[in-house]
């Protein structure tokens, strides 16, 4: 009769998150989740941030009033720590591979490309000989599936406290290189902090912004559109 849709319309971020999760679970990754309000051990120190690291400054991180050492997580890497802590406490030994889709928070001014909250997807794979070559394969596979099979990958040196070596991973899509992933080989201190023997095991970790992927994939011009509750966004 009318064109009225029987089913509701999903938020575009949910569509992209579901897609991403499906791709990774098909590759053998397990989904893990964790708290958004986190302590500074899991958000920073277990991840090998030095005590005086600039990221700990109030201007970048939301600290919680009246709760010493609590922050809104600045990345989903806190779940790396929580997962590995539990894993080794249960007496288990690697390998394992997880992905963590979740909301993260940064204390920064908002514009078309920045929001105080956004979604990140963290990945972590640890085993006997999980290498940079494996990381490149996994990420390329993911981007082929989410953006199209013609994408290319390149890896450049970068630095994050919780990895060594650290990388910036660029993806070429529609003829343009874009910086989409921060990644690296899990720093041995991080493995040790979680009770995993860094002499026996190694692996990679990466983090990517899901809002950014959704914006690229669906040509959405402004990140702020995601959080306004306007159903004109739900076009898909």
């Amino acid at each position: 009769m009318t064109e009225e849709i029987k089913k509701g319309k999903e938020h575009p971020l949910s569509i992209v998150i579901n897609d991403a999760v499906k791709i990774f679970t098909d590759l053998g990754f397990e989904v893990a989740v964790g708290p958004e309000l986190e302590d500074i051990w899991h958000n920073f120190f277990a991840l090998n941030f030095p005590k005086d690291h600039p990221a700990l400054d109030m201007q970048d991180t939301f600290y919680i009033k009246g709760q010493e050492g609590k922050v809104l997580r600045t990345h989903t890497s806190n779940v790396q720590i929580r997962y590995m802590e539990k894993f080794s406490k249960e007496g288990k030994e690697p390998p394992f591979a997880i992905i963590v889709p979740g909301k993260v928070f940064r204390n920064e001014a908002t514009d078309a490309g920045h929001e105080m909250q956004f979604y990140q997807l963290e990945g972590l794979m640890v085993g006997d000989d999980i290498s940079v070559a494996n990381m490149k394969w996994v990420l390329l596979e993911f981007f082929k599936k989410i953006l199209g099979k013609n994408v290319e990958i390149r890896v450049r040196p970068s630095f994050f406290p919780f990895v060594e070596p650290g990388f910036e991973v660029d993806i070429k899509h529609n003829g343009k290189w874009m910086e989409l992933v921060g990644a690296g080989m899990v720093h041995p201190n991080v493995l040790e902090n979680c009770g995993i023997d860094s002499r026996k095991y190694q692996g990679f970790a990466f983090g990517l912004g899901l809002d950014r992927i959704a914006m690229i994939k669906l040509s959405i011009p402004d990140i702020r559109l995601f959080y306004q509750g306007d159903l004109r966004l739900n076009q898909f």
């Binding site: 009769m1 009318t2 064109e3 849709i5 089913k7 509701g8 319309k9 999903e10 971020l13 949910s14 579901n18 053998g28 990754f29 397990e30 989904v31 893990a32 989740v33 958004e36 309000l37 600039p54 109030m58 201007q59 600290y63 919680i64 009033k65 709760q67 809104l72 030994e93 390998p95 394992f96 889709p101 928070f105 204390n107 920064e108 908002t110 105080m116 909250q117 794979m125 085993g127 006997d128 940079v132 070559a133 494996n134 490149k136 199209g148 890896v155 450049r156 040196p157 970068s158 630095f159 060594e164 070596p165 720093h187 190694q202 669906l218 040509s219 509750g229 159903l231 004109r232 966004l233």
Partner: protein, 618 residues
């Protein structure tokens, strides 16, 4: 950091063209933010990574790195320096007293009979190439040394102060008038340089007005020092000051750099003021930087990178980078290297994997499928599965999904120092949904919906963190925890999956199931920011006429501004006639439409309909 190509060429005359150099930076060292042609020079703005900021925030640092990376010649400038003869022969008038462990080394030197004036042209050119203004030869010499070798240095006017320098923590409330005439009130956490009567400078951050070098200055003290990076960063933060010196100190410079910097600074001043009289260098260096060693093996490097690296490749790199190395049990069992003092970033085997990897280039590492042992059996995540269940359930019931900010202007948990006025974390999803309903209700015709039904799944803090589900329409909103939702809305069989933590066969979400193929080609269409106008038109037609015939005529005559419709929203039959009611929505991307122009469109449609004798607009 700005780097002049011509300046680099002093040290690496065989450097490749500027364009090619940009790629070398990008793939082997760090990001290039911009490249600018400036006369016959090219200026790179490069983003030195934090772990190399202690040795690469300088032209010499970059030149040395590039020389090793590209295996080209590095020209050591020291043999060209004019070395001043010391006039004091062990009788230096300068006394240095370090009273704080936040000062790791302090080198001072009295230079008499200097002449403050213009700098030589090459100095001015060098400084201007990287956007620095020439001030006078003394200030320029200090700046040049910093941008050349990375060590910040300072000069005091000796005649405006005592001959004893004390490096100590400030006293609470102690004051300093800075070079730029600001009054600073200091705290005990601030490291200062003082003489016996007052503070002369805040260490590594800001000079004081009192011992300022001016046009009449004749005798100076040169300072080349090394300070604790954390102390520098904290003080600079309090005074909200970012200087080139602060940036270098806070990144943990090597104390060993001081000797070279003093040499270069002295040679420069000697070149500028040939009649200057140099006294002995006073060097107080309480704790020498330790010599560190690092062991690593080709096997481990290859295993981390997933690339077979050869012994020859690694030894070649070690030689190019001038690492002292030995292989006691033969290269196959690994090397021990002595870490150069400037390379504070190297400490563990993984650091060498980075070093070897980036020098070879990560493009050499080919993608390889990971093989996980059978020991790994991924499990379904319970919370994530419940979220998927709730979302699919609500979508199927006709609710559309929204996401709102986690921040609110009221709540039980608040954040410190937010950039926004919303300092609290939300206690519910309902308040957000109410606002969304208002907004979307206004747009209902544009959305083609007769009724707005929405939901959100997300965290709230009351005060503990909980995952909530809320859904509703204008009649009301229901909100509950995710667990409650799942237990209320799932069949006993479905619920069993969650409670037993069994593998749940997840339903794909509706959008995935229905439009997987289309999804890859769909593009978002931004909506117009101008108001829309909705109009309805109902037409009586003989009952043999189908709605699409009417639809066609309306559509053909609706004009460019019809962004939605015609949508059939009502039909009923009476006697031998049918009434079809259609809705049209008009909107422009450029302006606000007027009723008058839309009336014209509707009249045009009505006239076309009346062309059929048996049709009648109601």
């Amino acid at each position: 950091m700005k780097i002049s190509y011509n300046w680099l060429k002093w040290y690496i005359p065989d450097a490749p063209d500027a364009d090619k150099l940009a790629d070398v930076f990008t793939y082997h060292l760090c990001e290039v933010e911009s490249i600018e042609k400036k006369g016959d020079d090219t200026i790179f703005d490069i983003k030195i990574l934090p772990d190399r900021a202690h040795d690469l925030l300088s032209h010499q640092g970059i030149a040395r790195e590039l020389a090793s990376l590209l295996n080209i010649k590095y020209v050591d400038p020291t043999p060209k320096y004019k070395i001043p003869h010391s006039a004091s022969s062990g009788q230096a008038g300068l006394k240095i007293d370090i009273q704080s462990d936040k000062c790791r080394r302090y080198m001072g030197r009295i230079v008499r009979n200097v002449k403050v004036g213009l700098s030589p042209e090459w100095v001015i050119k060098h400084l201007e190439s990287i956007g620095q203004r020439s001030i006078n030869n003394m200030v320029d010499a200090a700046n040049l040394v910093m941008f050349d070798c990375g060590q910040p240095v300072h000069a005091f006017d000796l005649d405006k102060m005592g001959e004893t320098l004390i490096i100590r923590q400030a006293k609470d409330g102690e004051k300093l008038i800075t070079l730029d005439n600001r009054d600073w009130k200091l705290k005990i956490s601030d490291l200062v340089i003082a003489d016996s009567s007052s503070v002369l400078a805040v260490a590594g951050i800001k000079g004081g007005k009192k011992p300022e070098v001016d046009d009449n200055t004749q005798n100076i003290i040169l300072e080349v020092a090394n300070f604790d990076p954390i102390s520098i960063r904290k003080t600079a933060q309090v005074f909200n000051i970012v200087t080139d010196a602060k940036k270098r100190f806070e990144n943990d410079l090597s104390s060993e750099l001081g000797s070279y910097a003093m040499l270069e600074l002295s040679a420069l001043i000697y070149e500028m003021c040939p009649d200057a009289i140099f006294e002995d260098i006073v060097d107080v260096y309480p704790e020498r930087q330790e010599i560190r060693k690092l062991s690593f093996s080709v096997k481990k490097i290859s295993k981390i990178l997933g690339l077979e690296v050869s012994v020859a490749e690694i030894e070649d790199i070690l030689k190019r980078y001038n690492f002292e190395f030995s292989a006691k049990g033969g290269p196959a069992s690994g090397w021990e290297i002595t870490i150069p003092p400037m390379r504070l970033d190297l400490a563990i085997e993984e650091d060498m994997a980075e070093e070897i990897g980036r020098i070879l280039g990560y493009d050499k590492v080919k993608e390889k499928i990971p093989h996980m042992s059978d020991m790994w059996k991924p499990k379904q995540n319970e919370i994530y599965s419940k979220i998927l269940f709730a979302r699919n359930k609500l979508l199927n019931d006709g609710y559309s999904e929204v996401m709102n900010t986690s921040f609110s202007n009221k709540g039980e948990v608040s954040v410190l120092a937010s950039a926004s006025d919303k300092n609290f974390l939300r206690v519910n999803l309902t308040d957000g949904l109410k606002e969304n309903l208002k907004l979307n209700q206004l747009n209902a015709p544009l959305l083609g919906l007769s009724e707005i039904k929405i939901f959100e799944i997300g965290t709230v803090w009351c005060p503990d963190e909980e995952m909530h589900v809320a859904f509703g329409d204008k009649k009301g909103i229901k909100e509950m925890t995710l667990d409650q939702f799942v237990s209320e809305k799932s069949s006993s069989e479905e619920y069993g999956y969650f409670s037993a933590e069994k593998f749940l066969v997840l339903e794909p979400s509706p959008s995935q199931a229905s439009s997987k193929e289309i999804f890859h080609t769909q593009k978002f269409k931004m909506w117009s920011l101008f108001p829309f106008i909705a109009r309805d038109i109902a037409v009586w037609v003989p009952d043999i006429v189908e709605s699409n015939q009417v639809h066609k005529i309306i559509k053909e005559n609706a004009g460019d501004m019809a962004v939605r419709g015609p949508e059939l929203f009502d039909e009923f039959k009476k006697d031998e006639r049918i009434s079809y009611a259609f809705r049209l929505v008009f909107q422009s991307f450029e302006r606000t439409l007027t009723d008058v122009e839309i009336n014209e469109v509707m009249t045009q449609i009505s006239n076309k309909i009346k062309d059929n004798n048996s049709w009648q607009v109601r």
